[in-house]
Symmetry: C2
Subunit: 464 residues, 2 copies
C-alpha cells in the first residue's frame, strides 16, 4: 500500500494517522516535541482544555467507534453557559441545545495520549523530537528531519500531510515550491491561563470536588475583556482571561494592579482562585497570542501534499471549533477516499474544493463569536432572540421548514456543513425580520381598530 508521512503528532495528526492506517496506508508520523506520555512534558502544551462537540465526535466515530466511546467516558458535559455578573453574586444559566445537548470538556493532553496509545496498538510509528527542516518535492515528496538524538533522516513517501499547527513548518516548506496564497492575521488580544483548584478534601470522584457547577462553561462577560472557565475531570477548572493587549499593558508587570483589577471585575472568581495563585499566574504564565491563518489551496500541485488542522486554518477559540474542525478535515478526507476507491491522489486533488468554503465560514464565525461571548450574552435583545430560536426550534414545523438555532448547527449538527449553516442562519434571520415586522404590523392594525372603535363610541356619546 502507498506510504504516508504525517508531520505533527498532535490531535489532528494522530487522528489522520489512525484513519489512514485503517484504510490500509503505511503511515509514519514525525513530531517536533517530546513524547507527551513522558513525565514533565505538560509544560510545553499550552491550551489544556477543549470542548469536543458533534463534528469531533463524528470524526472519531468514523475512524473507530471504540476510541470515541473511550474518550467520551472521560469528558464533562457542559449543557450551557453560566453567566457570572460583576457583583459576583448572580449567575444565570443559558442552555446550549434544544434537547439537552452538551459540548464536552476534555483535557487536551489526555486526548492526545489516548490517540497515541491507539497508534501504538496498530503499530503506526511515531518519531518524537524530530524537526522538519525541508520538504523536497519530486515523484515522491521527501521529508528531511533533524532528530534530537542526532540521527537525521531523509525519508520519501508517496504522500505527506502537514498537521503541525498554527505555526506550521510544513506550510512554510510547502509554500516555497508552489503558488500558495497565505494570510496570517494577529487578533489584538492576548490570553492568560489561570485555574480554580479542586475543593480541598473532596474525593477525586465525588461531585463535591468542583468549586462551581461543572456542567456549564462559565463566562464572566465584561465587553472589552472576559474570563471563561472549563471543568476538568479531576475537579480543577481551567480559566482563560481574554483581553486586548492594551488592557494587559495597563498593569505593566505589577501583580498588585492586576489583582485589584481582577477582584473588582470578577469578585467570585477572585475568591475561588485565591490571590497567591492568581499572582503567580500573572507573573509566570506566558501571555498567549491569537492568530487566524488562511491558505489556498490546501494541497500541492502534484496532489501528494496536504495541509490539515490548524496548519491549514488556525482560528480563534471563541466557537470551540478548532479541534472539532480539524477532526472534520480528517473525516472529509476519508469520505473523499471512500468515494474515490482509496485513491488518495484524487482525494487530495478534490479536497480544497470540498473544504475551502466551510473552513472560511467557521474561521469567520469564530472571530465573530468573541463579540457574542463577551458582550451579547447579557444583551436582553440577544436573549430574546435566543428564546425565539428555542421556541421555533422546539416547534418543529416538520417537513415544511426546520428551524435550527445557529449554535445547534455548528456544535450539535455535524451533518450540516459550516457554510450551509451560515446560509440557513441568514435565511432564518430574514424570516425572523418578516415575522417581527408582520407581528408589529398586526399589532398596529389591532391597536388602530380599537382606537377607531373607541373614538366612534365617544363620538356616538357626544352625539347623544
Amino acid at each position: 500500500m502507498p506510504s504516508v508521512g504525517i508531520v505533527g503528532a498532535g490531535l489532528v495528526g494522530c487522528l489522520a494517522g489512525l484513519a489512514l492506517n485503517a484504510k490500509g496506508f503505511d503511515v509514519t508520523i514525525f513530531e517536533l516535541r517530546p513524547d507527551p506520555r513522558k513525565e514533565d512534558s505538560r509544560a510545553s502544551l499550552r491550551s489544556i482544555n477543549l470542548a469536543v462537540s458533534d463534528r469531533g465526535i463524528r470524526a472519531m466515530r468514523y475512524v473507530d467507534k471504540e476510541i470515541a466511546d473511550r474518550v467520551l467516558k472521560h469528558v464533562i458535559h457542559m449543557k450551557g453557559r453560566m453567566i457570572h455578573d460583576i457583583s459576583g453574586k448572580k449567575q444565570e444559566s443559558h442552555v446550549y441545545g434544544l434537547f439537552g445537548e452538551s459540548i464536552n470538556s476534555i483535557d487536551r493532553l489526555f486526548l492526545n495520549k489516548v490517540l497515541l496509545q491507539e497508534l501504538n496498538k496498530v503499530r503506526v510509528k511515531v518519531f518524537f523530537d524530530h524537526k522538519l527542516v525541508a520538504l523536497v518535492n519530486g515523484e515522491q515528496p521527501e521529508l528531511q528531519l533533524a532528530a534530537k538524538d542526532g540521527f537525521d533522516k531523509k525519508v520519501k513517501f508517496d504522500y505527506v500531510i502537514g498537521a503541525d499547527g498554527a505555526h506550521s513548518q510544513f506550510r512554510y516548506q510547502m509554500q516555497k515550491g508552489m503558488r500558495m496564497d497565505i494570510s496570517q492575521q494577529y487578533i489584538d488580544m492576548q490570553y492568560l491561563e489561570l485555574s480554580i483548584p479542586k475543593v480541598a478534601g473532596a474525593a477525586s470522584n465525588h461531585p463535591s470536588r468542583f468549586a462551581i457547577d461543572p456542567n456549564h462553561l462559565h463566562i464572566w462577560p465584561r465587553k472589552d475583556f472576559m474570563l471563561i472557565a472549563l471543568p476538568n475531570e479531576d475537579g480543577l477548572f481551567t480559566l482563560t482571561f481574554f483581553s486586548p493587549w492594551s488592557v494587559m499593558e495597563l498593569f505593566k508587570h505589577n501583580a498588585d494592579l492586576f489583582l485589584a483589577f481582577f477582584k473588582k471585575q470578577f469578585p467570585d472568581a477572585f475568591e475561588l482562585i485565591g490571590a497567591e495563585r492568581l499572582s503567580y499566574a500573572f507573573l509566570h504564565q506566558p501571555r498567549c497570542l491569537l492568530m487566524q491563518v488562511s491558505v489556498n489551496p490546501y494541497s500541492g500541485p502534484n496532489h501528494r501534499t496536504l495541509l490539515i488542522g490548524d496548519a491549514a486554518h488556525s482560528m480563534v477559540p471563541f466557537y470551540g471549533q478548532g479541534m472539532n474542525c480539524g477532526f472534520e478535515d480528517v473525516h472529509v478526507l476519508m469520505k473523499l477516499l471512500d468515494k474515490n476507491q482509496k485513491n488518495l491522489s484524487k482525494s487530495i486533488s478534490q479536497y480544497t474544493a470540498a473544504r475551502k468554503e466551510d473552513l472560511d465560514a467557521i474561521c469567520k464565525l469564530a472571530l465573530d463569536n468573541y463579540y457574542e461571548m463577551s458582550t451579547k450574552v447579557v444583551d436582553p435583545l440577544y436573549l430574546l432572540r435566543k428564546k425565539i430560536d428555542y421556541v421555533l426550534g422546539k416547534l418543529g414545523l416538520g417537513s415544511l421548514f426546520t428551524w435550527i438555532p445557529m449554535y445547534t448547527m455548528i456544535s450539535f449538527r455535524g451533518d450540516i456543513r459550516y457554510s450551509d449553516a451560515v446560509r440557513r442562519e441568514k435565511l432564518q434571520a430574514k424570516i425572523l425580520r418578516w415575522l417581527q415586522n408582520g407581528t408589529v404590523a398586526v399589532l398596529a392594525l389591532v391597536v388602530a381598530y380599537y382606537v377607531r372603535k373607541f373614538k366612534k363610541r365617544n363620538i356616538g356619546r357626544l352625539q347623544l
Copy 2:
C-alpha cells in the same frame, strides 16, 4: 557607533548599507547568493532589466550624488511607450511625461555591481554564500548564518535589517517572535523572459545596434496577455511575455504550438527574436511567478529589526516601481534618521507609520496597471483622457491648482507620496467628470437654443 547587520546584498540591501555607513553606523551585509561580480553568477538573477525613475534616483542622490551620476551614465532613456499592433506593421508612440521626462532602463546586474563596488570602497564587509538560519531576539538581535565555506556564524548587532527579497527568510524568522500580519497572494500570471539580439555587425556604441527604437518601452498589448521589451546598453532587448497560467498550459510543452501562437500574436517580435531563440527560451527558461506580499508592521517590537524592499512589500512589476520603491524605503528611513538625530531605534519605531499607507497604495497601483498596459493602452477613451491630462498638465493653472497626470506623479515626482498621488488623482478624476458633464450641459444648451431659434423661424414663416 552602533552596528547594523543587513541580510540581502541585492539592490535595496546594498543601498541601505551605503546609506547607513554614510551616517556613521558600523554595517555588515550577508547574502545567500554568490558574489555577482564573479563569472557565471548571472544565471541566478532572474529579472535582468529595471526602469529607474525619479524615486530611485532621488534615493541614490541622497546617499551619494556621484553614485547616482555614475549609474545614470549607463541607463537608456525611455521617453514613452511604443505600442505594437497585431499586424506587426504599425507602431504608435505614447510619451510618458509632459516635459520629455523618461524612465531609464538599466541592467540589474550592472547596478548591483556598482553598489557592491561602492561598499567595497567604504570598507563595508559583505559576506556572500551566507544563509540566514535564525534570527534571535534579545537585548541585541543575533543573526545565525550557515556559510558555504563551513564557517557558520552567530553575530550580534545593535540593529538588523532584512532586505532579502520577496521570499525573505528574514521575514519568516522575524515573524516567529512577534505579532506580524502577513499576506502573500499569487497573481494568476506567469512570465517568460525572451530577448531580441543586437543587430549583427553593428559597433557596440553605434546607435544602429538596436533592432527597434531604444528610447521606448515596447508593448504588444493583447488584453489577456502581453509582451514588453526594454533596451540594454549593449543593443540587446529583454522581452517579457506575461500571461495567465491557463494560456501557458495550452501549449503543453510543445514549442511548435507556442511558436505558432507567438507568430500570430506578435509577428514583428517573432521575426526579430527568431524561431530558434524563441523555441530555446520556451523550452529552457523558467516560468516565473508573480506574488504580492504585504506585512504589518515592518519593524520588530523592540525597534531593532526592520524589513525593507521586496521583503516587506513584494509587488507585481507593472508600474516599474519595485526597485524605486525599495530605494525610497531607504530614503524614508534616512530622512527619519535626520529628524531623530541619528537615533535608529526611534526611526525604526516611526517607520511603519511613515510608510505603510504609501506602500499599500503602490502595491495596489502596480496590480491595477496590468490592465492599463495590456488593455487600456489601445482604448480610444483612455487615449483621449491621456490627451486631456497632457493639455491640462501643460496648461499650468499656477498656484490655483496644478494638474499632474498619475503616471507623472508616480514616476517623475518623487516629492509626491504614493498615497497623496492616489488622493490627487481621485480629485482630478472628479474634476474631470464635472468638466465633462459641464461641457455636455453647455453643448446641450447651445443645441437647444439653436433648435428653438430654428423652430421659431419656421413658425414665423408658416405664419407669413
